[in-house]
Symmetry: C2
Subunit: 113 residues, 2 copies
DNA sequence: TCTATATATATCACTTTCTTATATATATAG
DNA sequence: CTATATATATAAGAAAGTGATATATATAGA
């Protein structure tokens, strides 16, 4: 998933849910482009990570999908389920705590920049 | 490794190297206690993650170990190798970038707290 | 015309890294 | 006698990535 480091392991689902919480509906390829744009090319979502992750989120009931034909190509739109909407709230709290603990352990607190 | 979330996947090696960069020498059990103390019990290093990680760091030449008998019990001290000392610098840069990108993607920027 | 690239999704073999459980051993507290 | 703390180690299994491959359409360029 990550372009240059291993640290993003475990964060992909949260990133995808967050994208969907802001965009109502998105398709996989669109997510890869959005992330690339937001991180200025530093983080590249690979298909081998992305699609299985989306399938798992759907199997777990956190997202719903619908397939459409656009420009003669198959496109699969995802959106947050109601369960996914409550789940992303918890995931963001967990992510925030994770970042704080990691900054603490690595002495990377924002105040020390 | 983590007490309550999956996000720490991939960060364990960096945390261990950082501990050793600050402490000259530490043994495994000591690291678990140190992390527990620093995170106020929120992050618990499990043995099944810790010891294999230390063995891997040693196999990769980033740490060195020496065994001692203390209080009649075996204790294995680890310290950074010279390679480990240069590696931790890069890992901390990568961790810092990782945190910034994650904050960006999840809208968890410090300024928004 | 052919090729490369972009768009778009999917799966599979493999690797890494974790969890959970088990094992061993000593010391101390109840 | 038992539980807990100290201390290290490994093994089976799960989860989540990487890298490669496959399929299909559209477009740009040589």
């Amino acid at each position: 998933m990550a372009a240059n480091n291993e640290l993003f392991k475990g964060t992909l689902q949260t990133i995808l849910l967050k994208l969907l919480s802001e965009n109502d509906r998105m398709y996989g390829y669109e997510m890869t482009q959005r992330v690339k744009l937001l991180t200025e090319g530093q983080l590249v979502l690979k298909e081998g990570a992305l699609y299985p992750a989306l399938h798992k989120l759907e199997a777990d009931g956190l997202v719903e999908s619908s397939t459409e034909i656009v420009d003669n190509r198959v496109r699969k739109y995802y959106s947050l389920s109601s369960q996914g909407q409550s789940e992303i709230v918890h995931r963001l709290v967990a992510a925030k705590e994770f970042i704080q603990q990691l900054q603490l352990l690595l002495n990377l607190n924002p105040a020390m920049n």
